[in-house]
């Protein structure tokens, strides 16, 4: 049953041209990011100061920045940081959200209402401010950034997973497993988790662009990734500072960032429609 669910979904996904295109762009980006040290024409820190900011040319396809660094290479290396933040922080959010949701949904009763109450309360707080606060207090550290963003984005995931688990809890196969004395841990791993993978996958795909936006936002304010490392957010920030004379420094990183967000959103929407055909009408 599980297999046919996924193969049906895969079939529907392959019919969705926007989603396939999104997925193709994503795979391309991930490959480019992974191979950046080998395919980038220059190192991200290689400076040709005498060149300065130069418009796109044969030597530098996307031009160079004010320090004479090749923009294409910097975008490729920036992809590593931006995608890394997107995936790792989403992973953190996933771990917290899924465990929280499974525990609340499976145990139920008072534990559930207290745990979900906490989620409700946290929902109402301005988390962006707390991330800024943490970055200010503990310094602008990449790992802290992963943790802080992940710690913010898990709330919706917890709600989704809890809803799914409550739906599953009263089904016969779960009761049968319980009656056979399956331990809680293997109940989660063997019986609950595989059945809620679909919604988790969908929501995770849609969380990645949100996380990347958040990282871009922080880096744009100068509170995220610090030099010499650069993400697309910092490239856009640098681009804005010199856009009056050297507009390509804003435009190319901006286009890359936007296309990536488009690809992730299209792919996520397509995945949702493929796994849950009921919602594809909206």
């Amino acid at each position: 049953m599980n297999n046919s669910l996924w193969s049906d979904a895969l079939f529907r996904l392959s019919k969705n041209r926007a989603a396939m295109f999104g997925g193709f762009i994503l795979i391309l980006l991930i490959i480019c990011a992974a191979l950046a040290p080998w395919i980038a024409p220059y190192s991200y820190s290689y400076q040709n100061l005498s060149l300065g900011a130069s418009p796109p040319s044969a030597d530098h396809i996307l031009g160079t920045d004010v320090l004479g660094r090749d923009l294409l290479s910097r975008i490729l290396y920036g992809a590593r940081i931006s995608l890394l933040v997107g995936f790792v922080a989403t992973g953190v959010a996933l771990i917290i959200g899924v465990s929280w949701g499974i525990i609340a949904g499976y145990i139920g009763g008072r534990v559930d209402s207290i745990m979900m109450r906490i989620v409700d309360i946290l929902y109402g707080l301005p988390f962006i401010i707390f991330i800024i606060l943490l970055m200010v207090i503990f310094g602008r550290n990449l790992w802290l950034l992963f943790g802080a963003i992940g710690a913010v984005e898990w709330l919706t995931m917890a709600r989704i997973v809890r809803g799914q688990v409550i739906g599953l809890k009263n089904q016969e196969f779960v009761m049968a497993a319980k009656a056979m004395g399956v331990s809680n841990i293997s109940m989660f791993r063997r019986h609950l988790l595989p059945n809620i993978l679909g919604p988790i996958a969908v929501y995770a795909t849609l969380t990645i662009p949100q996380v990347m936006l958040l990282e871009g936002f922080l880096s744009f304010l100068g509170l995220g990734i610090q030099p010499p490392m650069s993400s697309w957010g910092t490239l856009i920030k640098d681009g804005v500072e010199s856009m009056e004379e050297f507009s390509w420094l804003l435009i190319y990183p901006g286009i890359t960032f936007t296309i990536t967000l488009f690809a992730l959103n299209f792919f996520g929407d397509g995945l949702r429609d493929a796994l849950d055909p009921k919602t594809s009408d909206n």
């Binding site: 804005v240 856009m243 959103n265």
Partner: protein, 307 residues
């Protein structure tokens, strides 16, 4: 309704007190004092400064002091701007930020509801596809890119609108408000389209049509009231987003609002200012969430009867 309102307020007060306490102690464990800046100060000056700002008291005394000040609306002095209190700075920046947020939300509501409702009514025609494609762009182009791009086009290339400022040059409020409003217009367009589609298929709409009401009456009087509930519940969380957006927009356009003060305070490690604004923002967001939840409850006749 009233019972729900008071219950929510009762939960909100301890939550805000907890936020204030956690933020206070987080800042206490932050490495480095507020006065070890670039230029070294003599030990005597440092001692006097610490005394003046009550930093030589124990953490607990400072906490009690701060919290009792908080209850009176006194957020303490700013560390970086001697002689100015945090409350005063919030009072200066707030009207500007509110004005910006007001224009942005107005733009978002007008553009978003209009195109969303239109898209739902003309489903699967190009009046549906085009606004929804634009909305997708609005969601995928972040504020910190949209702002500079608008400046580049309208301010630098076309030279028809000022590139920065607030209330100094004619038309300088247009670009910031558009930048901030556009992303929300996109969300609202999608939400109102979805909400309207759901409502338009329901029986009471068929009844209204069968009664012989004009299509305009059916849409405005019957469908929109229910179809726009998702938009109303979105407005609360949107305020929180607007706040974050105001950090970016006020930085790009150099607007002297609360958002820019906050970002500057974060850079300057102006701890009392960070503490004060964090508490203030939290209170504001909790309040707006409450308001939008209540409005959504009130608009939905089913939940109105139950409570």
């Amino acid at each position: 309704m009233i019972a729900i309102f008071f219950r929510r307020i009762l939960v909100a007060i301890p939550v805000l007190l907890a936020v204030a306490s956690i933020t206070f102690f987080l800042i206490k464990i932050a490495p480095g004092g507020p006065f070890d800046a670039d230029k070294a100060v003599s030990p005597q000056v440092l001692k006097n400064l610490n005394e003046a700002y009550n930093l030589d008291a124990s953490n607990w005394e400072q906490y009690v002091d701060y919290m009792s000040g908080l209850l009176r609306g006194d957020l303490g002095p700013s560390f970086r701007f001697p002689g100015r209190s945090v409350t005063e700075m919030i009072a200066t920046g707030l009207p500007v930020t509110f004005e910006l947020a007001f224009y942005a939300i107005l733009i978002a509501l007008v553009m978003g509801i209009f195109s969303g409702v239109l898209a739902a009514l003309k489903r699967n025609t190009f009046l549906d596809f085009i606004p929804m494609a634009v909305a997708m762009i609005g969601i995928c182009v972040p504020t910190f890119l949209m702002g500079p791009l608008l400046v580049l086009i309208f301010g630098i290339n076309l030279e028809i609108l000022p590139v920065s400022g607030w209330g100094q040059l004619p038309g300088d409020k247009i670009l910031p408000s558009l930048t901030l409003g556009f992303a929300y217009a996109a969300y609202i367009a999608r939400l109102s389209r979805g909400g309207m589609l759901e409502v338009l298929n329901q029986d009471f709409i068929r009844t209204a049509r069968a009664k012989g009401l004009t299509e305009r009456m059916v849409v405005i009087k019957h469908a929109m009231q229910g179809g726009l509930i998702p938009v109303v519940s979105f407005l609360g969380p949107a305020i929180a987003g607007l706040l974050a957006g105001s950090f970016v927009v006020e930085t790009i356009f150099q607007i002297p609002g609360l958002g820019r003060f906050y970002v500057e305070a974060a850079f300057n490690r102006d701890y009392t200012m960070i503490l004060g604004t964090t508490i203030f923002f939290s209170a504001m967001i909790v309040f707006f969430n409450l308001m939008s939840d209540l409005a959504a409850l009130w608009l939905n006749p089913r939940s109105r009867d139950v409570s």
